[in-house]
Structure formats: structure tokens, C-alpha cells
């Protein structure tokens, strides 16, 4: 009996301890909301340290480090605490979430565009709308999609565009020559595309006409949006509350992809997001729809390739863009806010952007850069780069940046993935996904 007593005493003690800790952690969680305060009036000469997470690796990271040093030299009172943060989507998300929860977030961070809605809703970002309205910022020089991502709800501007891209059609000249096919042109339709894919496919030798990711991630989803938009469909209703991709336009789009994958069997279905690019480099896939980041691997691999805008529907060759942003965060310190904004603005101005984005193979942020020497140089190094730059004009719609986009993407990604692998019909799969997306978005 004494043992039981001792045990229950232990238990009570442990429970009480747990209760105390629970209360403490609740307090910490709640306390984590309020940022620490700093300078309340702007003093441009005061000593300031701003923390920047670049989200870059390798050459890009070195380029930014060089630029940060330059900025520090020009403004001696500013110290930039630059670190990579993290290099992949998942890791940067963890870092930012942990940073927010632990009140350790930076002043400026690379952020993937699909989080823009969430970031704004978090209430921790700066609103630099008044800053970017100034003429010397040349805000309208950024592409529409880039501006839209930095202004997710249109109410606030939470940062500057960081990286823009778009998807084009990459074709493997070696395989086209082998099959005796004419190269794609800028006027191609999706039927031309399908025919070519079928002709390129050689099942016995494991050669495919097209490659598509069925991992269910954003890679699966965003490749679908050009089809939807070209067919006249919409992703979301104008109030952003209802998913509208289960329309006839959506069903037609998915049916087209399905016919290629299941009927023609001309599509390599990639369970990951990276293999189809590698297979294209290795001359095993004839065509892929991808972005300028493929070019450096193609160069290393020595592949013979060409780049065209996406095939079109009724002359509409619109494509999708997935801009990422430099999100600016609020630490209730006017000096930090000022200098973080200044650095982001300086970094994304035409002159610096040529030395950063263009130099590492990303597309130029600003339309004015298209005719610059830097772009010409990059196009000489990486054939097809100029086609991607020109393709920016085909970016007409912005990928949604509402809070619920992440959940919507997962829902439709799953539907696309299943249908392409032969499990389910386009109409019912899309309708089911739309229902799931609606309930998740309006939680």
C-alpha cells in the first residue's frame, strides 16, 4: 500500500509539473506574438544591423554576399547579417515558422511566392506600399505576376519581388532528329505537341515524348494552370473563396493530359519532381515544360536542346509564373524597417539585378533589363535564355496568393496525380478536389 501511495504521490507531482509547464508554454506561445520594440523615430545615420536570410546556395549566395558588402561600404552605419537561411522550400518554411514562434525572425527573407498570402495574414510583415509608390522605385517595371505576388491581397505590399520565372517548352534536338520530326515552333498547338510526343515515344528503348511530375506537389499543380487558363478557366472565384478549376475548361485540360499519359502512353510519370529534368538531359525524354533553371544542367550535360514558348490554344500561349519575394518583416523598429527596405530596393533595382539574378541564370526582374548587355551575355552562355525572357509577356495571370492556396494545391495535385496514373476520371476527380479545397480554404 505504501508503494501505491508513493506512486500516486509521484503521479500527482508529475501532473502538477506538467500543468505548470503547460501554462508556461501557453504563455510563451502567446508572448511570441508581440515583437520586441525598437527605434520609434527614423534616424538614417544611426547604427543598424539587419538580418537577411537569402535562401540561396553556391554561386547565388556568393553573389549576394558580394552585393551585401558593397551596400555596407556605401552605408557604413548599416551592418547586414547575411546567412543562407535554408536552401529548399521545406527547410526555409520550417525556419521561418520556428523563427516566428520563437520571435527570432529576420528583417528580410527570401520567401516562396505560395506563402505570400500566409505571410501577409500573419501580421508580421511590413507594408511598404507608400515606399514603392515613389517614382525612383519604378514599381511598374516589375512584371505583373511579380508585383501581384508581393501584394497578395492587394491591400498591403509585403516586400519586393526576388526571383521571377516562367515555364516554356524545352525540346531535345537529338531525339527530334532521330525521329525525323520538325522542331516545335512558336505557333504550335497542343495537338501538335501531342502528335510529336507520340512520335517520339519508343517504349522498347525507354524513350518518352513528355515528362510530368505526379508527386502531388506544387510542381504537379502549377504545370496544369497554363492548360486551365488557355482553355478559359479560372483557379479561384474572384472573391478567392471558391475553387473553380472543376469547370469544363478544367475537365478538358485534365482529359487532354490524361489522354497523353494513359492512352498514348507517351508521358514519363515522375514520382519525384527532379527525375524528368535529369532524363531530359540524358536524352530519354523528348520534351519537357520547365523553366530557366534547367539551362545550367543542360549545359553541363552537353545536351542539344531548344526553347520555345508553350504550345497554345487558339493563339493563346499564356504560361504560368511562380515569383518568389524578398519578404520584409516588422520588428517595430523604424531604422531596421527603413534599411531593410532600402537594401531590398537597391538589390532589385535594374543595375544590381543584372549582377545577381541575370548573372546566376534567373530571369531579369524588370522589363527594362530585357535589352541590357547582361541579358545578351547570358543568352550567349545559355541558349534559349532570351526566349524565356521574351516569354515573360505571356504571363498574364497571377498564381493565387491567398491564404488557402497551399491546401488547394495539395488537393488538386492529388487529383491530377491519380488521374494521370490511371486512377479515376477527370471530372469526378476535379470535383472532389474542388470540394476538398473549398473546405480547407475556408477553415
Amino acid at each position: 500500500m505504501s508503494f501505491q501511495l508513493r506512486n500516486s504521490a509521484n503521479r500527482r507531482r508529475t501532473l502538477r509539473l506538467a500543468g505548470v509547464i503547460a501554462a508556461a508554454s501557453l504563455a510563451v506561445t502567446l508572448a511570441g506574438c508581440s515583437g520586441s520594440g525598437g527605434a520609434t523615430t527614423l534616424d538614417k545615420k544611426a547604427k543598424v544591423t539587419i538580418e537577411v536570410w537569402s535562401g540561396q546556395v553556391d554561386a547565388a549566395q556568393k553573389a549576394i554576399e558580394g552585393l551585401a558588402n558593397e551596400f555596407e561600404k556605401e552605408h557604413p552605419n548599416v551592418t547586414i547579417d547575411l546567412s543562407p537561411g535554408a536552401s529548399s522550400t521545406d527547410q526555409l518554411l520550417q525556419k521561418l515558422s520556428a523563427g516566428f514562434a520563437g520571435n527570432q525572425y529576420p528583417d528580410m527573407s527570401y520567401a516562396f511566392g505560395s506563402w505570400a498570402g500566409q505571410l501577409e495574414a500573419s501580421g508580421r510583415t511590413l507594408d511598404i506600399t507608400s515606399e514603392v509608390a515613389k517614382p525612383d522605385v519604378k514599381w511598374d517595371d516589375f512584371t505583373a505576376a511579380a508585383r501581384g505576388t508581393a501584394q497578395p491581397t492587394g491591400k498591403k505590399t509585403i516586400g519586393f519581388p526576388a526571383v521571377v520565372d516562367n515555364i516554356g517548352l524545352l525540346y531535345n534536338k537529338t531525339l527530334f532528329d532521330k525521329a525525323g520530326l520538325a522542331y516545335p515552333t512558336a505557333d504550335w498547338t497542343w495537338d501538335d505537341f501531342r502528335t510529336a510526343a507520340k512520335a517520339l515515344t519508343d517504349t522498347a528503348n525507354h524513350v518518352y515524348g513528355y515528362g510530368y511530375s505526379v508527386s502531388g506537389s506544387e510542381e504537379t499543380t502549377w504545370q496544369f494552370w497554363p492548360h486551365l487558363w488557355q482553355n478559359g478557366g479560372d483557379i479561384l472565384s474572384s472573391d478567392g473563396k471558391k475553387a473553380e478549376f472543376a469547370s469544363p475548361a478544367g475537365v478538358d485540360s485534365l482529359t487532354f493530359l490524361r489522354s497523353m499519359a494513359v492512352d498514348d502512353k507517351s508521358v514519363y510519370l515522375d514520382q519525384t519532381d527532379t527525375k524528368f529534368g535529369q532524363l531530359f538531359v540524358s536524352n530519354r525524354i523528348g520534351m519537357i515544360t520547365s523553366g530557366p533553371w534547367q539551362l545550367s544542367d543542360l549545359k553541363i550535360g552537353g545536351t542539344k536542346y531548344g526553347v520555345m514558348p508553350l504550345p497554345g490554344t487558339n493563339g493563346d500561349h499564356q504560361t504560368v509564373s511562380g515569383p518568389d519575394i524578398w519578404a520584409l518583416f516588422d520588428h517595430k523598429d523604424k531604422n531596421r524597417a527603413y534599411w531593410a527596405t532600402q537594401f531590398a530596393q537597391w538589390l532589385t533595382s535594374a543595375e544590381q539585378d543584372e549582377r545577381f539574378n541575370v548573372a546566376v541564370g534567373n530571369l531579369p526582374l524588370r522589363a527594362s533589363e530585357a535589352s541590357s548587355e547582361a541579358v545578351a551575355k547570358e543568352s550567349a552562355l545559355f541558349p534559349g535564355y532570351d526566349v524565356f525572357v521574351a516569354n515573360s509577356k505571356n504571363v498574364k495571370e497571377t498564381r493565387p496568393t491567398t491564404k488557402g492556396y497551399a491546401a488547394l494545391s495539395v488537393a488538386i495535385g492529388k487529383a491530377i496525380s491519380s488521374v494521370l496514373q490511371g486512377d479515376g476520371e477527370p471530372k469526378s476527380a476535379l470535383e472532389q478536389a474542388a470540394k476538398t479545397a473549398d473546405s480547407e480554404m475556408n477553415k
Binding site: 506538467a18 508556461a24 508554454s25 508527386s215 502531388g216 506537389s217 514519363y268 514520382q271 519525384t272
Partner: protein, 315 residues
Amino acid sequence: MANTAAPAIRRPGSEPADKRRVRRTRGLKSALTGWSFVAPATIIILGLSIFPAVWAFILSLQSWDGFSEATFVGGANYAQLVSDADFWNAVGNTFGYTILFVPASVLLGLFLAVALNRRIRWMGFYRTAIFVPFVASAASTGILSTYLFSPQFGLVNNVLRVLHLPQQGWLDDPHQAMLVIAIMSLWGSAAFTTVIYLAALQDVPAELIEAARIDGANPWQTFWRIVWPQLAPVTVFVTIWQTIQAIQLFDLVYTTTRGGPLDATKTIVYFLYEKAFRSLQFGYGSAAAYVLFAATLLITIFVVVYSRRKGTEAF
């Protein structure tokens, strides 16, 4: 026939006072000794874990997207889990994998440890060779899996082709993908059980084996009757540990199939990872984590009670 032996009931005041005092002092002394041994490690481990565990539990009662304020939803996450077909699919996948993996892992480790427990030349080389895959990260093992088991380009199907055997879907086939992951997982972690058993075999007294041999037992009998019972505590450890690892399978799935094809390899932890870091539903993911925790705790308690009841002194 009921056993009528009554349990000894100690009535307060039935002992002489000085005997009680001695008992209490001895109890205090043994408590002090005991805690002085375990306290440093225990304080560090529990100190670093209690707050995160409680925080994660509170999170499971909330809805949080990682950036904004969390909102309290009570048991809604748990209720939603019960009717989530995706979740139960993940539970089924995890269960299937665990049943495959744990016994195979223990037996493979045992076999390899016995094979490696002899003094022949190059034994250091052999032991190290078995250890090498374990050192490789999940990313490397994942990449290797795709090289080997890619249906179109992988080595295994190439070998099958040469042998005129039918090509398999492997990692692209929903019915085979989990099997492939189990095989690669076994191969990658074989060293874990092997090394532990190898160490345990060193502590089996040589006299017992000698005695058995003198008594005329063959190697098979010697092993299963004499050596195996000596390994019981370590076997319990390895079984529990590998079960916990199997239930929490994530890394290899992430680097090979991302839960596909068609969710055939989506394990519970992959499910919660997707919910938290893809769909930005941290509260929901946390609820799944705690369901997993509860299940693991129950299984562990079951194994402990079972081994205690068998009287093997193993736990």
C-alpha cells in the same frame, strides 16, 4: 479451485517503530543512490523534451499555419482524423511496413552477428562492410534506391531482363513500392541490429557454451537453448526500438517516392509532414503525431508486459 492465499496487508502501526525507521532510511538511501546514478542523464533528456512535447500537444488542439496566430479548436483535429481516409491509408501502410520490417530486421541482425562473431581473417573488413550502408544518409540511400529500382532504367530490372524474367514496376507500382522501401531499409539498417547483437554475444559466458558442447549439444541446439535466452534483454531492446523506428518511417519515403505512387508508401509521419509543411496545417499534423504517440506507447507497454509475463527477466 481458487487460490486463497491472502495478500499481506501491512496495517499502520503493526511494525515496531525502529524497524520502520530503518526501512525508511534504507529507502531514502537507495533513492539517493539510485537518483544519483540516473539524475544527470534524466534531467537533460526530460528537460529538453517536456516543453516541446507539451507544446506539440497544445498545438494539436489548435489550428495554425506556421505564420499567423493559432486558433483554438479543441478536439476538432482528432475528430477529423477519425474520418480521414488518407490518414487510415497511412496507418495501413505503416502497419504493413512494420510487420515486414521488424522481424526481418531482428533476424537478419542476429544472423549477421553470429556470422561475424568469429576470429577469421579480414573480420574487421567484413564487419565494417556491413556497417557502411548504415552510415550513408537517407538521401544517399534514397538516390541509390531509385538507381536500382527504377522500372525503366534501374539495375534490378536490367538484371531481370537478362534473365528473361518479367519486368516489375518496383517503385512505380503501388503494390510493390512499399516492399522495395522495406528491402532498402533493411539493407541500410542491418548494421544496427547486427552491431548490437554482436556486442551482446560477447557477454555470453564461454563456460555455458563449453558445458553445452561437453553435454553433446550440436551448434543449433547450443544456440537456441543456451545463447538465445542470454540475448533476451537485448532482443527486447532491438524489437522495441526497431518497432518505434518502423512506425516513424519518413526519411526513405521522402527521398524515394514522396509517398507515392498513389499514396501507396505514405506513412503516418509522411502524412503529418505533408499536412504540416505542405498544406500548412500544423495543428492537424500535430494531432496525427499524438495519435501515433499513443499507439506507440500502447505497443511498447504490450511488449513490456508480455516479456515480463514470460518471466524472461528481459525487461
